[in-house]
Each structure stands twice: as C-alpha cells, then as structure tokens.
C-alpha cells in the first residue's frame, strides 16, 4: 500500500515535471529592451511595465498560435553599447520572436546592426527624427511629419504666429527636427531674422538668460511661439523659469514634442497651464478603447494615480500589430512576419485605425493639446484624418528624393528616385 502511494506520487511528480518542460518549449518569447536603471530609467521603466501588461493580457486571451507568450526582460542600464550586447543576448541566447524596446535614437542606432545581422524584429515606440528605414525595425512612434510639421502648421494658421524660437537640447533629434522645421518655415516665407535657434546641454538647469532672451525676442509686437525639442529633465526648470518671469501661454505659447503626461506628473503644473504639446495620443482622449486601456493599466500597476502616455500607446499598437501579423503568417518567423505585417490595421487608442505602411512607419492622427492644471491635456486641434509616417523628410535636401518601401519589388529602405538606385544603407 505504502509502495503504491509512493509510485503514484513519483508518477505524478514526473508527469508534472514533463508537463512543465513541455510548456517551457511551448512558449513564444518576447524581448523587452528598456533601461531600468541609469538616466533613461525615468521614461523607460513605464514602457517595460506596459509590455508586461500587454503580454499578460494576451495570455489571458489564450496566448498566440496556441502557445503562451513569455516576456524576457533585460536591463541595458541607459548605456548605449550595452543595448547592443543585450539585444544580441535576447536574439541569440533567448531566441525571442520579437523585441520591443529602446527610447533614445542613439540606443536604436546602437542595436540596429545587431537586428540586421541576426535578422530579428524590433518595435521602436518613440517619436524620432526620421531619416531611417530598416528592414528589421518597425517605427510605431511619430516621424517629424506626424508631430513637428502639423504643430507648426497649427501655430501658423490657427494662432497666427509670425516669429519662431526653436529651442532644443544639443543632440541628434532636436538638431535634425529643427533643420527640417527651419527649411519648412523658410519655405513658408518666414524671414531669417524671425527665427531664433537655441541649443542647450543635456540637463540644463539655469534658464534665466535664455528665457529672458525669448521674452525680448517675443516683445517685437509680432506673435511669437517657442517650438521646444528640449529633452527630459531640462523641461522642469525651463517651464518654472517661464512661469517665474511671468511669460504666460497667451503671450508666448510653447509647443513641446517631448513633454507628456508622465513628465508632467513630476511637476507642479500651475505655471504651465495653456502651453501646448503635440502628440498622437493624450490620456484625456474620449474613446472607448482608451477608457478600457486606462482601466487595465491602473489595475495592473495597482496605482490609480499613474498616467498613460504616447509611447505607451505606440507599444500598444505595435504589440497588437505583431500579434495580428503572427496570426496572419501562422508562424513567428521574422521573415514571414515582416511580410505579413505590412498593411495590417489595428485600432489605436484615440478611436481610429493604425495601419503599418510599407516604409515600416504607421498612420497616426496628430493632436495638439493644451496643458491643464491637473497635468492632463485638453485637445484643441487635431488632423482630420490619419497621417502616414514619412521616413525621409521632404524638406531636407539630402533626403527629398529618397523613398522607402519594404514590399516587393522594391524591397529597399533607401531608394533614390532620381538615380533609381538603392544605396543598401538604411541609416
């Protein structure tokens, strides 16, 4: 009798061990490549949590292709070369089917060769400067024509702005964006003397003279606006200084491309009310999908006060698209998914549809919002339809003639329509 019990117990044990082994082989691994320590942890930790939530949610619905999804989280610690190492680890060692990650452009540039060499897939969720289209990267954030250009159009046509301050942090995204904007403004007949360009170092905290310059520049009698590509931490002292020197949004509005709900949650927003931001998603948008997403986020993170923001929506869209593409292809093989995902449409959180374009960018609505005193945005303007992302800007001399399409027969991210040649280089 005793022996029998023992045997049954052993069998049960063995059985369960086998089952768990079988289950381990039966999962699809998804890589999450976001910094959890170092300077960028402030922005990227939230995106890691978003991915975990999306994966958990998909597993509750029964997984994908009959298998469970398994997140593999690594920490590249805001260290650009480490991003490449961790990406290699995810693809070669962990054999992930796709990776969701990166925030800064420099981290994306660092992992790009790895993804191309090992032929895997990366979903990149942040607005960026454009001028890139890789076979292995899907850009779910905004290209300049989906954020910067419509924002300037709004200021020019609806607010009547005649003088422009382009203020940015000194690195590649602001420099490229401002180059595009400068060319665009000059094309619209704005004179050289009515554009003031200013760069500041990362984490700049003493804005007194610059704000005072902006005040002087704006007191000429012509309506002035600031287009800000100031990044991250430097925004708080900048807005504080604006408030203290009593520059209100009615006099000189500031439209920012890097300030979202998450950044505002760390600031006392009273002096900021009325300043603008251009994004493709606001937490305050009235849409059923958005309400559901916010509710899920709050119950996942167990904190009613946490906000949602634009890059989170980008991951939401990217993940849904990847799931649809895998279902369509019937496999997680990168080559097949890359073919299947082009043309896939999924609902976004603002009540529309996002479609993956052949240039690996997606369609998005552009919203302009004014900051409210509760740290949320009130949408004051939006594009009437979806704007497709343009990888190569039409306003830069070097990239005007370049066109990207990853569909046969072109299959090229850098095709020059004038010389009819594909340079083969993606960045």
């Amino acid at each position: 009798m005793k022996l029998k019990t023992f045997k049954v117990a052993t069998m049960a044990l063995a059985c369960s061990a086998m089952m768990s082994a079988a289950q381990a082989a039966d999962t699809i691994k998804v890589g999450v490549l976001h910094s959890l320590s170092g300077t960028m942890a402030i922005s990227e930790t939230t995106l890691k949590d978003t991915m975990l939530m999306l994966i958990e949610d998909q597993n509750k619905k029964g997984g994908l292709l009959g298998k469970k999804l398994e997140p593999v989280v690594v920490d590249p610690a805001s260290n650009w070369p480490l991003f490449a190492e961790k990406a290699r680890e995810l693809i070669s060692k962990e054999k992930v089917a796709a990776t969701f990650g990166c925030w800064t452009s420099v981290s994306r540039k660092s992992v790009l060769p790895v993804f191309e060499e090992l032929d895997s897939i990366l979903f990149y969720p942040v607005q960026y400067e454009g001028e890139e289209s890789s076979k292995n990267v899907f850009y779910t954030g905004a290209a300049p024509n989906q954020q910067a250009i419509p924002a300037v159009d709004y200021l020019m046509n609806e607010v009547g702005v005649k003088r422009w301050v382009l203020a940015g942090t000194d690195y590649v995204y602001p420099r490229t964006t401002n180059k595009i904007l400068e060319a665009y403004l000059k094309g619209k007949g704005v004179a050289e003397k009515d554009i003031m360009i200013n760069y500041t170092p990362f984490g700049h905290s003493d804005w007194q003279s610059i704000v005072s310059d902006i005040k002087k520049f704006g007191s000429s009698g012509m309506k002035t606006a600031v287009v800000s590509t100031i990044n991250g931490d430097a925004n708080v002292p900048f807005y504080k200084e604006l408030g203290n020197q009593s520059i209100s949004a009615e006099d000189i509005p500031v439209v920012a491309f890097s300030v979202g709900e998450e950044e505002l949650s760390g600031i006392d927003t009273k002096p900021l009310v009325g300043h603008l931001a251009a994004w493709n998603y606001f937490m305050s948008v009235d849409a059923a999908e958005n309400d559901e997403f916010i509710e899920k986020w709050h119950s996942f993170i167990k904190d009613e006060k946490r906000v949602t923001n634009d890059p989170m929506e980008a991951h939401y869209i990217g993940f849904k698209m990847w799931v649809e593409a895998v279902k369509k292809a019937g496999t997680t093989d990168p080559e097949a998914v890359q073919q299947a995902i082009i043309g896939v449409s999924v609902p976004n959180l603002t009540g529309g549809l996002a479609t993956m374009m052949p240039n690996h960018h997606i369609t998005k609505p552009v919203l302009i919002g004014e900051i409210q005193d509760d740290g949320q945005f009130e949408t004051v303007w939006q594009t009437s339809g979806m704007v497709p992302g343009d990888a190569w800007s039409d306003f830069l001399p070097g990239s005007k003639d370049i066109y990207a399409s990853w569909r046969a027969p072109l299959n090229c991210g850098n095709y020059n329509v004038k010389t009819s040649k594909c340079s083969g280089q993606n960045f």
Binding site: L36, S37, T39, A41, I42, T45, V159, D170, N198, Y199, T200, P201, G203, H204, S205, D206, Q208, S209, I210, S212, D213, K216, S219, S220, G221, D233, V236, P237, K240, E241, G243, N244, Q245, S246, S248, A249, E250, P253, E262, S265, G266, I267, D268, P271, V273, G274, E304, E370, Q372, D373, D374, E378, V380
Partner: protein, 532 residues
Amino acid sequence: MIKTKLLTLAVFCFWSVISHASNETLEQAFNLLTERSFDDKSQAIKLIAESNHVSSVKLLESILAGDLYYRKKDKRIVYAQKEESKLRIFDALTEEELDLVGKRKVKKIGINNRLRAELKLAISSLALTHPDAEVRLKSVEGMIGKADATMVEKLNGMKAIESDRRILEAISAVIAFSVLADGTREQQLDAIEALQGNLNPAVLSTLRQLGETTESVEVRRAAQKAVKNIESQVDLYGYIETLFFGLSLGSILALAAIGLAITFGVMGVINMAHGELIMIGAYTTYVVQLIMPNAIGLSILVSIPAAFLVSALVGIAIERGVIRFLYGRPLETLLATFGISLVLQQAVRSIFSPLNRSVETPQWMSGSLEINSLLSITYNRLYIFLFCLMVFLVLYLVMKKTSLGLNVRAVSQNRAMARAMGIKSEWVDAMTFGLGSGIAGVAGVALSQITNVGPNLGQAYIVDSFMVVVFGGVGNLWGTLISGLSLGVLGKFLEPVTGAVLAKILVLILIILFIQKRPRGLFPQKGRAAEQ
C-alpha cells in the same frame, strides 16, 4: 402712502425685470458653454460679462481656474470642489450643494489660450469698477496694447470719476497708445509725449516702427528721440538683469560646492558621492512635504534642519563605514565614493521609483518682484541667493568661533600634532564629514525649488562643485564663495554672446588655463602645512 407703495412696487418690478433679463442671458450663456466649439464658448464668455450679474466675475474666474464643470446627464453648469478622488458639485447660479460625484460623471469646461486671453480681459474690465485701487491699477496697466475701441471709450469715461493719480496716468498711457499707431499728427505727438519713458515693450516696438515708417518728419523725429531715451534704459536694465542672473547662478554653484569645500577642501577627501548627499537633501524636502501637505510654505523651513540631519547622518555613516579605512589613499577613496554614489542613486530609484518627484514651490517663493516692466527679479532666485549667503555666514562662524571649528582646523593642518595635543582626531573626522554632508543636504533643499528632484540630481552638480572648489583654492571657504559667484557671473555674461553650450566649454577652458598658472586657485592656503 399709496404713492410710496406704488413706487416701491415699480422699483421692485424694474429690478426683477433686470435680474430676470440677466438671468436669461446667463442661461443662454450656459447653453453655449456646454458646446465643444471654442467659438460658442467665446460667445458665452461675452454674454456672461455683459449680463452684469452679481456672480459674473466669480463665474469667469472659475472658468479660468478650471473649476466650472457641467453634469453630463442634464448639462447643468456646476462648480466643483475636489474631495479625495471625487468631486463635490454646487449649482453655478444658486450655489446650493447638489451631489458628490465621480470624475467621469462631470465634464470640465475646457478652454484654450484665446479664451484665456478673452477671460482675462473680461475680468479686468469688470475689475475697473473694483473698490480696491490696486486692483483697478493692475487692470488698467494690463490693458496696454490690448484695449479695443469700446474699452478706450470706457476708460475715457472712467477718467472723470477716478481720483487716484497713478491710475489716471495709467489710463492716459493706454489711451495714448491706442492712437499712437494710427491717430492724427497732433494726436501722435501728444501720445509720444505722454508715453515718454514708458518701458512697456509694446510701446517701444510701436515707437520704433513709427520712427522708421511714418510720413511726418516731426512725428518721426519725436519718436526716434523717445526710442533712444527708452533704449538707453533698456541697456542699463539689461546689464543689471544679467548681473543678477550671474549672481543667482553663482550662488547655486557656491551652495552646492560649500559642503565639498569642507570635505574636500579641509579634509582632503575626494568625495564623489557629494552630489548624492545633495540629492538626499532634496528628497528629504519631498518627504517633509508629503508629511505636511497642508503647510507647503512651512514645510520648506522644516526641511532645512531635517535635510541637514539626514544628509549628515548618511555622511557620517559613509565616513565611518568606508572612508576612514582609506585616508591617505586618494585613488581608492575616489573609486569607493564613486561606488557609493551609484549605490545611493539606485537605492533612491528602488525606494521612490525612477520618476522625478514633484516638490511644490510655496506661494511666497513663486512669481517675481517687478521693479519695472523691464527688470523683474524672480523670488525663488532671490531667496536662494540670500540663503546661500546665510549658510556661508553660519558655516564661517562655526569654523572660526566654535571649538569644533578649532579642532577641525588643527587636525587639517597637522594631524599628528593635533593628536599629541589631545584632540580625538577620529571623532573630529566624523564630525567634519558630517558637517560637510549636512551642508550638502541643505543645498538640496534649495535645489529642489529650481530643478528636478530625481535620482540624477546629484550627478548634474558634482563636476561643477569640484570646479568651484578647485578654482577658489582648496581649503578656503571665502575662496569657494567668491569663485562660485564669479564663475556664475562670467558664465552669464558669456552666454548671450556664445550660447549656453559654448559658454560652459569656455568657462572650463578658462579654469584649466588659470589652474596652469596658479595651481592653488584664487586664494591659496598659506603656511608650512599647506606646502607639504
């Protein structure tokens, strides 16, 4: 008797008709307010302002402040007060309490910048009849360049009944400005005369235009003269402003460096975790504000001793736990304290999350002291400048007048001799390090008012702090103060010419050149001990 009664009745009827009419306009306005379109809301704001209802000003102000909502189910306009995560709503007309509702049951009356400007103008035009002279003055001053024809008409009427001299002057300035650009020749000349010495930027730019474009030679000459007059003042105030900017930046540099002047300057410990001690001070401010959310103004004052204590204790723990084993081995100290700084950063990330924390600025520290329309000094910078001087003074007295100060100076000059005289050098080391760390914590309280409170706060200031101490002369408190202030002023005078990035580089190059020439900094320590 009957007559009186009749009269009363008539007056009553008349009054009720008026109030009925204004109620009707308000109702019409309320219907428009619930529309999505900003044009409709703009119409509603005009109606509310015109209705002259007793609660017009309150309504307009609460739209501006974002306290006016409407209930989704019956579109009733309500005031709302936050109560935990819910809203208590009151009827906008009768002010009777209605309900306690969830956030998604009501919708805020959203406004944009155009409406905000309209609201402010409407409120200030209603404020023209305010009993308080200061309110009237402010309202008139805000109208320059914004008043339209009807407003000028209104101001003209006001001239007759206003008695305050300053307000009358302000009214004439607004009226003069309204004819400056396109009045007759006589009007323009009078206007230029009236606006002589007015520093409002709108006046200057219009005068400038007038001086270049207008046809009449007389007007042009008068305008040019006025412009020249104003511009010389603009230049003067520009210099004063830059000087203040420089001093304020300098005071922050000095404040961040002054703790380091003790640990590095006096003790000779290269403490790479100094920035993190500043960060701990800033986080202490945040925690104190969490504990006393209803007294933000007071919380800053409480934070100063609290931050001093917390940072000093952490500093003493670092000294006792790590640094005391490494005296005389600067390279190892540098590496060990760098490691500690990383540990402290990640600890803060784990405890408080990697997101920045919001530290509120008390009312008395926000806004600016307006000296005239060209020069205004922001209060937070002014207070931090004074605070820096105070901290310096206290520290100076501690070092010169107390027995702790005496012991510290004795140990730093000649450790062996001091020990021979019976000074417990280990205890002095711990106290000195604690003092330096505590001062860093106090600097953190000040920094929490002007920059982000996040795990990376310290990193931004560590290089600058070392720069200030080395430039000022190691071991000299005066040197630290002077070098901090002069680096700040230098940077600010360079910035308009070269831009912020280049200014920073130039300052660094200048320091390197200076150190080549005078390796001991501005104020080198003298004496035999310093020569070793």
